[in-house]
Symmetry: C2
C-alpha cells in the first residue's frame, strides 16, 4: 500500500518543473526532448494524475451524473448501459442515482451531485421544473433522456427541448419562448404510438385502452391524438410507477371495461402488469384482448404469446445522451429524437 507518485515526484525525477510535467501530460506544448523524458519517467514511476487535485483546481468533477427512476426496469438498465459504454470509452466516471420516481429523492440526489461538483448530468426526470431549477441555476449541463419534466404552471424548463421537438416533428415553428437550454434525447413516442394504434385499428379494434405510468405524458398525448376525439376517458388509466400499482391499474381497467379489445401499455412494467392481470382474469391474449407494449425487452419474446412491442433504442439513447453531455461546449446541444419500431410478434389479433 505504498504512496502513489505525485506530479512533484515526476518533476523531480525528470529534473523539470511541475508545470512542465502538467503540460506534457495534458497535451500542452513542450520540446520533444523534455516531453520524451517526462513521459519516460512518468511511466517508470507508474504515475497517474490524481483526479482529486485536478478536480479541485478546475472546480469541477469530471465525468457525469446519471439519474434514473429504477434500475430494475429493464429499459433504464439499457439506457444506463448506453451511458456507461460511452463514458467508459471516454475514460470518464459516472455517478449514478436511482430516484424511485420520487421528486424528493431526485432533488436530494441533485443536491448530492452539486456537492460533488458534478456539472454534467443525464436524467430521466421525475420532478417538475422547480425540482430542476437548482441544477440549472448552478450551471449544470443537463440532458434529459426518455422524457421531459412535467410542466409546472409558471415555469418552462424543457421549453427549449419542446421547441426542438416541435421543429423535429414538423409542427409549427417554435413559439417565442425564453429558452432554458435543457435539451433532451427522446424516442419518437408520437410516431411509435401512432403506428401501434393504426396497427390495432387495422385489426378491427375500436375500443383501445392506454395504460400509462409516470412520465408517459407525451405518450398519452400521442395516444389521444392517434385515437382521435372524442377519447373515451375511462380507457386511459395510470399507475404510479410501482409494479403493484401497475397491476392494480391494469386489473381495474380490464374489470371496469370488459368491452375493450386492445390495450397499449406505456412501458414494460405496465406491459408486464397487463399480461399478469389478463391472465388472472382469464382473458386470453390475443384472443380476448390484444396487447402492444412500449419498450422492447428480452423477455417480451418469452411471453406466450410473444409480445408485440414498440421498440425504442434504449441503449442508443443513453449513448447519445452521454455523447451530447460530454461534447457540450459553449453551444447548447440540439435535442435528439430517435426512431421507434413496431415489432410485431404474437400478442395482437383481429377483434373477435
Amino acid at each position: 500500500m505504498e504512496r502513489r507518485a505525485t506530479i512533484k515526484d515526476v518533476a523531480e525525477a525528470a529534473g523539470v518543473g511541475v508545470a512542465t510535467v502538467s503540460r506534457v501530460l495534458s497535451g500542452g506544448s513542450a520540446s520533444p526532448a523534455t516531453r520524451e523524458r517526462v513521459l519516460a519517467v512518468a511511466a517508470q514511476l507508474d504515475y497517474r494524475p490524481s483526479a482529486l487535485g485536478r478536480n479541485l483546481r478546475q472546480r469541477r468533477t469530471g465525468g457525469m451524473g446519471l439519474l434514473v427512476p429504477d434500475l430494475t426496469d429493464t429499459f433504464y438498465g439499457q439506457l444506463a448501459e448506453g451511458v456507461l459504454a460511452c463514458a467508459r470509452s471516454a475514460g470518464e466516471p459516472v455517478v449514478l442515482g436511482s430516484t424511485g420516481g420520487d421528486p424528493e429523492q431526485e432533488a436530494d440526489l441533485i443536491g448530492m451531485l452539486l456537492e460533488q461538483s458534478v456539472d454534467r448530468l443525464i436524467a430521466v426526470p421525475s420532478g417538475d421544473a422547480e425540482t430542476w431549477a437548482p441544477a440549472i441555476r448552478a450551471g449544470m449541463t443537463v440532458i434529459f433522456a426518455d422524457r421531459l419534466p412535467v410542466q409546472s404552471s409558471h415555469e418552462d424548463v424543457g421549453a427549449a427541448a419542446i421547441a426542438d421537438l416541435m421543429a423535429l416533428d414538423g409542427l409549427s415553428p417554435a413559439p417565442q419562448t425564453r429558452p432554458l437550454d435543457v435539451p433532451a434525447v427522446l424516442a419518437d413516442d408520437r410516431a411509435g404510438i401512432r403506428t401501434a394504434v393504426r396497427y390495432l385499428r387495422g385489426l378491427g379494434h375500436r375500443r383501445i385502452a392506454f395504460l400509462g405510468g409516470p412520465g408517459h405524458d407525451r405518450r398519452v398525448a400521442a395516444f389521444r391524438e392517434a385515437v382521435g376525439s372524442p377519447v373515451d376517458e375511462e380507457l386511459v388509466v395510470f399507475g404510479t410507477g410501482s409494479r403493484d400499482s401497475a397491476y392494480a391499474a391494469a386489473s381495474g381497467l380490464f374489470q371496469t371495461r370488459p368491452d375493450l379489445s386492445a390495450v397499449v401499455a406505456g412501458g414494460n412494467v405496465l406491459g408486464e402488469a397487463a399480461v399478469l392481470a389478463a391472465r388472472e382474469l382469464d382473458l386470453r391474449v390475443p384472443r380476448d384482448v390484444s396487447l402492444v407494449m412500449y419498450d422492447d425487452v428480452p423477455w417480451a419474446e418469452l411471453c406466450a404469446p410473444p409480445l408485440t412491442v414498440i421498440a425504442q433504442p434504449g441503449r442508443d439513447m443513453g449513448y447519445r445522451a452521454a455523447e451530447l453531455v460530454l461534447r457540450a461546449g459553449a453551444r447548447r446541444p440540439r435535442s435528439v429524437i430517435l426512431p421507434t419500431e413496431l415489432v410485431i410478434r404474437g400478442s395482437c389479433g383481429p377483434r373477435r
Copy 2:
C-alpha cells in the same frame, strides 16, 4: 449561476475562523453560542461544503464504486438498486461501471476508480486475482458480491472469503491461508442448487443438465455435489455471458442430449435462453423438459408456464454489501451468505 459560498465566506460572515466553521459542520466541539451563529450564517448563505476540497484534503473520494457485468441483466439491476438505496440513505455517491464481463474492461475501470481515489468498491468480479491485485495493493476496501474472482493458479484473492464460507457452510475449519481480506456477500448457492436438484430428483428426473455462465463456478460445484458422481459431463455446459452464446449453449445442449429431462439454468439470462431454445426445438415445458432457473425476476411469472426459480435476494445483497463497505473500519468485515428460496411455479413436472 452565482458562485457558491465557501467556508471562508461563512467564517467571515460569522466573524469566526474557518477552522471553527469546519468543526461546527463536521460535528466537532464548539461553544453553543458560536455553533448557533455559524449554523445560522451557513443556512442563510445556503452554504454546502464542497466535496472537492474535502476529498483532496483527505486524499480520498467519499462514496463507493460499483462494478457489475451488465445492467441489462435484471439481477444486477436489483443488486445495484440495493447498493444505491443504502448509499442514498447515507448521502454517499456511487460511481458505477459496467464491465461487460470482460476482465480487461474491469481492470480499466479499477484503474479509473483508483485515479478518482475511490477507496471503497463493491464488485461482481469478472477477472481473476491478478486483475484485483492493483485494487488490493492500493488499499481499497473491496467487497465482492454474487461471486468470487476465479481462482488463478498461484494467487489467493478471495481465500479469506472462501474460508468464511466454509465456516458458514459448516465445513472443515478454514485451512491456514494467508488472508487477503476480501470479504463477500453471496447467496447460498450450495443450498439453492441442492434444493433444486432434490426437487427435480423427487419428480423422477435422472438426467439433469446444468446450463452455466461465467462466474457460476460455485453453482456448478454445488450442482456436481448434489447430483453425485459420476457426473455426466456432457450435461454441464457453459455460455460466455452474452445472450447469443447462452442461446447457443442451450440449443446445443438440447440437441446433443435429447435424453435429458430437466435443466437447471445458472442465471436468468441462461434461463431465458433455455426457454427460447426449447420453444424453437418444439420442446414443451414442463412436459418434455423441466426447467428451474437461478434468479427470481419479475418476468419469470410471465412465462408460460411460469418459471420455477431459485430466488436470491438481489436487492438485499446489494444493500448488505453497501453497508459492509461503508461500515468497514479498521476491522475487516465478515463475509455474508444470504439464503435462497425455491419458488415453485409451473416449469417443472414429473419425468414422462
